[in-house]
Symmetry: D2
Amino acid sequence: MGDLGRLQVGIIGASGYGGVQLVRLLKDHPQIEVVYLGGESSAGKRFSDIYPHLAHCIDLKIEAIDLDIIAERCQVVFLSLPNGLACEMAPKLLEKGCKVLDLSADYRFSNLETYSSWYGVERSDEQVATTAVYGLPELYRDRIANAQLVGCPGCYPTASLLALSPLLKQGLIQPESAIIDAKSGTSGGGRQAKTNLLLAEADNSLAAYGVAHHRHTPEIEQICSELAGHEVMIQFTPHLIPMVRGILATVYATLRDPGLVRDDLITIYQAFYRSSPWVKILPSGTYPQTKWAAGTNLCYIGIEVDPRTDRVIVMSAIDNLMKGQAGQAIQCLNLMMGWEETLGLPQLAFYP
Amino acid sequence: MGDLGRLQVGIIGASGYGGVQLVRLLKDHPQIEVVYLGGESSAGKRFSDIYPHLAHCIDLKIEAIDLDIIAERCQVVFLSLPNGLACEMAPKLLEKGCKVLDLSADYRFSNLETYSSWYGVERSDEQVATTAVYGLPELYRDRIANAQLVGCPGCYPTASLLALSPLLKQGLIQPESAIIDAKSGTSGGGRQAKTNLLLAEADNSLAAYGVAHHRHTPEIEQICSELAGHEVMIQFTPHLIPMVRGILATVYATLRDPGLVRDDLITIYQAFYRSSPWVKILPSGTYPQTKWAAGTNLCYIGIEVDPRTDRVIVMSAIDNLMKGQAGQAIQCLNLMMGWEETLGLPQLAFYP
Amino acid sequence: MGDLGRLQVGIIGASGYGGVQLVRLLKDHPQIEVVYLGGESSAGKRFSDIYPHLAHCIDLKIEAIDLDIIAERCQVVFLSLPNGLACEMAPKLLEKGCKVLDLSADYRFSNLETYSSWYGVERSDEQVATTAVYGLPELYRDRIANAQLVGCPGCYPTASLLALSPLLKQGLIQPESAIIDAKSGTSGGGRQAKTNLLLAEADNSLAAYGVAHHRHTPEIEQICSELAGHEVMIQFTPHLIPMVRGILATVYATLRDPGLVRDDLITIYQAFYRSSPWVKILPSGTYPQTKWAAGTNLCYIGIEVDPRTDRVIVMSAIDNLMKGQAGQAIQCLNLMMGWEETLGLPQLAFYP
Amino acid sequence: MGDLGRLQVGIIGASGYGGVQLVRLLKDHPQIEVVYLGGESSAGKRFSDIYPHLAHCIDLKIEAIDLDIIAERCQVVFLSLPNGLACEMAPKLLEKGCKVLDLSADYRFSNLETYSSWYGVERSDEQVATTAVYGLPELYRDRIANAQLVGCPGCYPTASLLALSPLLKQGLIQPESAIIDAKSGTSGGGRQAKTNLLLAEADNSLAAYGVAHHRHTPEIEQICSELAGHEVMIQFTPHLIPMVRGILATVYATLRDPGLVRDDLITIYQAFYRSSPWVKILPSGTYPQTKWAAGTNLCYIGIEVDPRTDRVIVMSAIDNLMKGQAGQAIQCLNLMMGWEETLGLPQLAFYP
């Protein structure tokens, strides 16, 4: 039955890190009530069996996934599932009138061929997919406000695109010169037990992975191409960092106009993000620490110009589970509901 | 008095991380005996007052620095001091017949103006400085073998140059396209108490620093220019990683011949480093973890080519205190003494 | 001038970890406005010069400490200073009508001789000190509600006393058998640069410190004695853990009645803390993770009985900067103002 | 065929952390050659497929386990397998003349009923089991020297027993007062992927586990009882620490003679371990850091007496994979072969 007046929200795939962040954040959201948690392997368990520390706040069972029942009880559904599952559920939920926010890659691509070739999943929901909006509010605020289906961006693309967008949109760089060297905490790999994510393996070590082949590459390129007005190839290299949370994207690009100095670019970025409450442009000479964003939906951006090489170096820091995942999804929902973009989302970092 | 037949070695600046690594490594070296430890702030203390866990192995006092006495007792002196101090001691030690290995920046530059403009230290030892050899054995093995004074490379330049050298030497890349995105554990910052290196600050966080201005830039450029045969500008960005040891350099460059594939480059690197026992080229598709090098003098190199962008991405991993500092200095000494390059240095990682 | 109707609050010693937590938490508190930040070494700086990531929220300068001015502007003052300074400021602030919450050890002791012998500070404010209330709401809720001056407990005593109190109050254990083996993240050591708190030193390592001599011992004993009704000696050993935040206290004690089983004790603890919203007793067989409390004002308690040894083992987990410091101070202020004890304090952990 | 004159050694279960430590250490051992690596799930792979960083040193395939073949090729076999498997292999290997060192719990118990009730494994090799020697050289040097089958101690028992033995052997404490609060890095949990050992879960957190029920309890008690001369019950609590390696055991016990002071006990411990090169008693007021032992086979012991409570607090630090596992096994082998106890084992820590 729930709290009258509050938006009734469900989460399918509640037991992973995306799920637990959504639950935590939505619990503190003044306009939302979480009325349904769904899962497959965890169906039947109480949410607090998996996360005992939330027992005092969340008294819900994880239920088996029955889309009819979900649609009856929820006005909005978050899908936090492995790639290839959302596209089988979203069409039905939409048909029944739910708004859907998908945290997987399924609805991030306007071109399903790109999706299929990088993700190896065949799709039959092309019509629905074309209605999906890419959930990066700083670029697509208006589209999101009118969407029924939002494909929330990946964590790396969020950090990368927020760093690159002003440069590409305003034609300030040679697009093909862009290199994104990204670094992520291990929570980006999810809560599944994998050997390489063990503390004994990942702590006190550092490595690149998916070099030249990571699936977030075409997602970044899709938006960069749209911003640049033509097809753009981007170099993207992710690294696994011995920390739990946080992404830092260090972005390199060659300036078209070598006369631009750091403060010019800071001014340009400030203007570009003037209406974006979740992006903070740092003052001259200050570079972002991922820790500054921990637990918040913020993206901190630092800018440097190397006059010796005519390159701009942009560093963007986010919390990969917040602005990079669950926080951004709620930011999108705020827009879809006509609420303040900042509603219910933390903006003061868990620091130190 | 010392062990007859062993080389009598002294370390000035024994109390920092460079010093303690030297002490540990030299203790296990079959041809060397450490007979002198010197320091300023720590003079008068026993070495084991600072490092109690080494009391059973090292029974030396840290003595005040008297170059005459040092030169009498030592055939070889390692200088592990802040920048700007070695250049005041090395000339006298050399004059008295010692071989000198300096771990600071003082003797890394063939052009002292470059040194002075980046380090802010005026120098009057130009004649001595011109006799110094840059201590990167993989490039300058012969020069080192004949040197009396070796300026040991910085940790970042070591990782960066080992990754870049084959490409530059053989003209495979556009030199000005080279970007080095480097990541280091916090021990690179030394053992001095600084707020930003506190665990509470640096753990679970990540940031770039010295962007476009780090002092290792001209050092890297000097050697790159020599390899390329003309002046080269390099983009170099260091990052502080929440781990104790290790450097990973991720190097990007545009290939001159877009027809080159990954396996071509692996073959080229293997040939280039054929006589270099401390460099290991990884097989196709394997990228180095810094943990693999921990505690060893090894450099692991992984190579990827992105045929979409015509870029090569080279990743090199070292232990910043070993191949990046004390281990490399001993490797140089081995060469100077005509010993096996691998003598007394560990090659099996402390793993996990 | 401030927000009409909100409580005007000042913080002296705003630049350390206690200060930054207070600022962050008070910023989100619905009834409070921070109108003054004071400091010595940092006077004149903007708060955002020290913590750039809070620039969008906190636009205050750190001012030199002038008690007259502070008392004019603030109804409540938090003191977050090294030991021995609060006792020189609190009397004057109280005299001028401020409520004072001190985060140091200065007002934790009912017996100033104990304080002086452990802290080496002579005191002349005995009269004021006797009016101070020990700020552990779970034990002294009523006293705090009526206090003008609260001495907020140390981080270790908070975790230790919440674990021990039900046992001592109800005479369930032999008090002299109690052993507290406590483990803390390094942020407990503050933001001052100290060598032993460097990431390179403290990470991937573990050690006890202050064994048999730590200053939190007499603080714990004072309250334990009051609960037991007679003088009690406690064994307390703190350890430094390679993590930023969190305390786990593992408490051992011999049961008076060996017939008591785990579930009996769980029931007793639940009853003891029934009116304490910030203490959560975990179900049978579940032990607390410090991570569960991270960022919240909660204390999680797990209980085990070993029928082989007739010992009870109680584990309590808190965030040392929240329930162990700033959060608890605000919980006290809530009580002093007659507000809900939970007002404005986070209860959903920053997890993972 | 192997190196003539060297001892031919095999390792069954080579792919886990115990295995990789054995391989690394034995590689550097002057009297040993590793000629066989065996495994089940990894059979058929090259060792360097699992550990690419060792490719330059170890060129062996992991073979399926055929005891006949192993016994033909190896004079000594290390078993590094899950509990319950060694007891099926050791009898046959012994029968064929091999010396066997087992790293599991299978041969640690003189009483197989204790083993079976705590480990849930039925055993039919009682006769063989009674010939097994408990592989803690500091207590059983002579027995080990004459053994064909050694059951190497667990990591926690090693740290615990080295801390407790002098006290129990010399009747200095009330045995039933002994409490062991032990803390271990996560590599103690092995290389199997488990959710609770993920960096995202285990980092920046801390918890006890197996409270009052951990399987190392009866192992510790068995040796303590032998030392005390009567049945002894011990309180043992392990904790998971956010670090890769290391164990610290903090041991509490009540002194029988309250007149004993710290320096008395230090003298007693020094005498007790006089012939034990791998145990180092720290000077007054110095407590061990686990980092000091990292990578070595050393155990550092610090001692404190609390005259207020008449308790002794002993802290022992080891590297759980070295003195706590593989290093100790090799120390045992050294004894079995009549070699120096220190042969081939590192004693200078990987520090920092």
